[in-house]
Symmetry: C2
Subunit: 422 residues, 2 copies
């Protein structure tokens, strides 16, 4: 008989739950400050909702099955299809822009990766119904302000940003033909994960033109947006895309997050998915997988939900964040111990102990007491091991003693004075 | 292409999520005041974890399937098996009594009941490792204080309590033999749902003795614990169980919840499960299904987790609570609109609007602004329809106007004064 969870699933004992509550609490708080409102959908959806977005290939990674009503269903591997479905169902009734967030638990059956989790919690933040670049700046600022709220700074975490429209215009301007874009993108996506010579060969092979491949490399590796923008003679399409991207960076400056942001055309992400700005957040030291990724996906709602609406969003999982915060000594957890432990030195005072506990609780504080008879010194030890902050010792009369377990200080007052002070 | 969720599942749009957050927020707050700490387990477990507790019959009601690793798994239909597994895995390391709560989403495939939900959220509160009746009183007090926190009173909600040990002793004292207990219990469980004559016939048939059946009826229908206790000559077992139950009621009084509680021996609940106190909460008018049910189940942890430990707990779902609160006009929801809308009368001030939004957000308040160019009067309308509480109108200099959308009042101050006042 196994006492553990299924492989790839986590038990959240109180200590772990308190960390998860800290991580998700920051998510909720920052999303709220940016005036995003929370929604949720079912963890189980029709299989078709996911294949419609990702094709039949996705099925191999899903927890999918046939339910007792002969429906093909799957545990949600991501939230965007549910979002698209829900927004499409009420598209006309919703105030635009839709500014929604959600914190679903997501599930993937990944057979090959031993030790990798098969579930995680993921913050999803999306803006729907707004094509302008101000929305793109707002969205990235949410992700960055979450990092700041965890105590991380621009030296710890970098946001790498690009724009699919700018990249397309630059590639075309460099001489890449439309039918060469696929393999060129695929090679860009592998930059940093394979030697530059390999990428160069791929670019040369894809374009069949050494000059094009060289211009391509000079463009893609240029991390200074100002210098790239100053390159002469790149055509009207590049000019327009540059203007728009320049505006994006200015707006990020207005929102106070520009210093976290690096221009990086090698950020590609899902090819069939994104249509404009794209970004990823990484820890600056490069130790961990991406913290978060997102961008603009103007065509997806139509494809999944049948409603045409510009859209952008990002996802941020709890696992990488947790690893990063622990590595930096920044993981915090909600307090677990009670505010007050109620004690007495006589069995006869049990109902009084319980009355005091009730009054403390009615005042909004947490209170615990020994459910079985214990000596006062034993009660003090129990209170301490429970993590109680103060012990209230009741007596037969109205006097109580309040002992602070951290500094050992003690004060005496009446019960009414104590309750009034809570 | 369906735009709705699977039958029996709910979409939580922001309005519904805000109600769910209100319901679960009260659960968390009261559980915390009683010094319970939150845990969680996986929504997917081995099928065997559930059949071990409930037998193979349960499988027909589960979302169960074979995963891609050939494991028989099921979406959790209840939390107790997970709790038993988790506690058993760390039984020696955990401080006793374990005071834990959880708010899992639970899943049942109920084929026959059209319109019934197939998922719900359920508060689970449990105390493990404590055999004494003080724990029983603490547990019921949590459920009742939750009702009070929703604005409900003892005229709205009644807690019906019984004790399996007391009932057993009374039945034996009334002359019911051990092998007659099963059918007698089954008939008690149906009381109130079928005519009393039918129950009488069942009791008579089960015991084969008219005198026994009459004593049985007088006992079970006696709602006055004091009178029942005063009945002479019921034997030592009844006396002991009466003492214990009387103590339970006294402790409920000490915890300030006695006036919510009715003694009711017809509360039976899961026969194979409960071993001591049992209780259910109902709305006093009898309109709705039970709000909550629980009790002591001292044998279950051994049966499921292989660790012997006294235990008690209750479950409370979000659906009946929601129906009751709506019917009584007591449903509340968290505020959805932003604290501040930032506006201006010039396109040139967009970065200033964004800077002010950032400062308001950094001060912990929520702020939104128009992502596209709008006239000031249009911005005011948008702010109002978004539910913003105040609009901050920025100008080219340091002056800002703050307009309260509820009462129309307006004040003028500098930006720094405003931020300092947040």
């Amino acid at each position: 008989m196994s006492r553990g969870p299924l492989p790839g699933f986590r038990d959240f004992y109180p200590e772990q739950l308190a960390e998860r509550a800290y991580i998700t609490g920051v998510w909720r708080d920052i999303a709220r400050r940016f005036a995003f409102v929370e929604y949720d959908g079912p963890p189980l959806e029709t299989l078709e909702l996911y294949t419609r977005k990702s094709g039949e290939e996705i099925v191999g990674q899903l927890y999918n099955f046939t339910d007792k009503g002969d429906r093909e269903v799957a545990l949600r591997p991501e939230m965007t299809p549910t979002l698209a479905r829900m927004v499409a169902a009420k598209a006309n009734a919703l105030r635009k822009p839709v500014r929604w967030f959600s914190i679903p638990q997501l599930f993937r059956y990944e057979r090959q990766q031993k030790g990798r989790l098969r579930e995680h919690f993921q913050l999803n933040v999306d803006i729907l119904g707004e094509p302008g670049v101000t929305a793109d700046a707002e969205l990235l600022a949410v992700a960055i302000e979450i990092m700041r709220a965890y105590g991380l700074g621009p030296k710890d975490v970098r946001a790498r940003v690009s724009d699919r429209r700018l990249l397309n215009a630059l590639l075309t301007s460099a001489g890449v033909k439309a039918d060469q874009l696929g393999p060129v993108y695929a090679a860009i996506d592998k930059l940093g994960r394979e030697p530059l010579e390999v990428t160069r060969e791929k670019w040369l092979k894809a374009t069949g033109d050494e000059d094009v491949a060289i211009r391509l490399e000079q463009t893609i590796l240029q991390k200074d947006f100002g210098k790239l923008r100053a390159t002469p003679e790149m055509g009207a399409d590049v000019h327009t895309a540059m203007e728009e991207f320049g505006k994006y960076l200015e707006l990020l400056d207005a929102l106070g997050v520009r210093e976290w942001v690096d221009f990086d055309l090698s950020i590609v992400r899902g090819l069939a998915y994104y249509t404009g700005t794209v970004f990823e957040l990484f820890d600056a030291s490069g130790e961990f997988r991406a913290i978060c990724g997102g961008g603009r996906y103007d065509d997806l709602l139509d494809a999944i939900g049948g409603v045409s609406m510009p859209a952008l969003g990002f996802g941020m999982g709890d696992v990488v964040i947790g690893e990063l915060l622990r590595a930096r000594g920044l993981m915090r957890r909600n307090e677990i111990g009670p505010d007050y432990w109620i004690a007495s030195d006589s069995e006869k005072l049990l109902s009084k102990v319980m009355q005091v506990a009730s009054r403390v609780r009615a005042a909004g504080k947490s209170a615990e007491y020994s459910l079985r008879l214990q000596t006062l010194s034993r009660q003090m030890k129990t209170a301490s091991s429970a993590g109680a902050r103060e012990v209230i010792i009741v007596a037969a009369d109205e006097a109580v003693a309040v002992k602070n377990l951290a500094d050992g200080s003690e004060k005496r007052l009446t019960l009414n004075e104590l309750i009034a002070s809570l």
